[in-house]
């Protein structure tokens, strides 16, 4: 195992992120599913940084010779999938919020077609 500055950097970043997620979970700021998912992601990143041969092995399975290229492709894919998921979630939230605001406004108005406003 060869320790390089970039390995230490990735490992420290991953540990900081894991610590952050655990703190958020303990403060009830994030759910269990999200916390576990992100902890796994960050642990995988730190594993990849400490044991690059593992990444090499996986990248060979993925028909990619260059480890960095493999990491970039996977990272891009994960980011794109997350963005896609978040976009739809935000949109759904926006719709629900708009509907709630409309319902509130409707509840506060008394309309009677036999009289004027």
């Amino acid at each position: 195992m060869k320790i390089t500055p970039i390995t230490i950097f990735f490992f420290l970043c991953s540990m900081a992120a894991v610590f952050n997620i655990i703190t958020r979970f303990r403060r009830n700021l994030t759910g269990l599913r999200s916390a576990v998912t992100w902890i796994i992601v960050w642990l995988l990143i730190s594993l990849g940084a400490i044991f690059p041969w593992m990444v090499d092995g996986i990248s060979r399975i993925g028909m990619m010779k260059d480890r960095m290229l493999f990491i970039l492709v996977v990272a891009n894919f994960v980011l794109f999938a997350l963005l896609f998921n978040l976009t739809f979630r935000v949109e759904r939230l926006q719709r629900n919020l708009t509907r709630t605001i409309q319902d509130l406004a409707l509840a506060n108005i008394q309309i009677d077609s036999s009289s004027e406003g």
Binding site: R95, Q102, L104, L106, N108, I111, S113, G117
Partner: protein
Amino acid sequence: MIMEKVIVVIAAFNEEKNLPGVLEKISPDYAVIVVDDGSTDKTALVARNFGAWVMPIACNIGQGAALVAGFRAALKGDWDVIVEIDGDGQHDPTEIPLFLNKFRESNADVVVGSRILGSNYKEAPFLRKTMLPLYTWFIGWISGYRITDAMCGFRAFRVQSIRQVDHILLDMIEPQYLAAELFLRFSSEGLKVLEVPIHLRERSSGKSYKGLFRYGIGILIAIFKTILDKRRRKEARR
């Protein structure tokens, strides 16, 4: 002549200067709801002074969503026709009888105003003259309606028809650019849409919040979202 019970719905966001010019031209025979879309000026006060119902929205949710709120409120009463006009003075409320006549002489479910069929369209700015037919063609192509102006916010709805498909209002997803989504949803429900020529007017005061290009992009996104939403709903029903 049959007198329909008409309610006019206006969505207004900071339109205290333009609203009096619109409200004073609306016939006293019609009821008016002004949906105050989170204005920070005296829009609500101005509307109340003219005897309109004011439907205050807690925050700015967009013209489309505000109008939908107004339509839902209007459907609570027993009106025959809901008319939608802009609060910025671009539509002439004295042209409302044209819409009512169209309902009387046809079995249309929705009547939309067409600025292109109006006599003063030649005076329109170049950009609008170029972009409006383009957007209209696209919306017409997707929805299957043969229309000349899909973007006009001067529309009238036969309440009886809208009541039968009132889920449309709850399904609406586009908070800002209502036109494209409305046509797509009307088309999927098989509603009959006809046009009447109306006159083109400029805003009495202030500047529009939506530019023509921004409008175009918004419409494309709205169409995309509506199509996705319709597919998702179809799949959910299966």
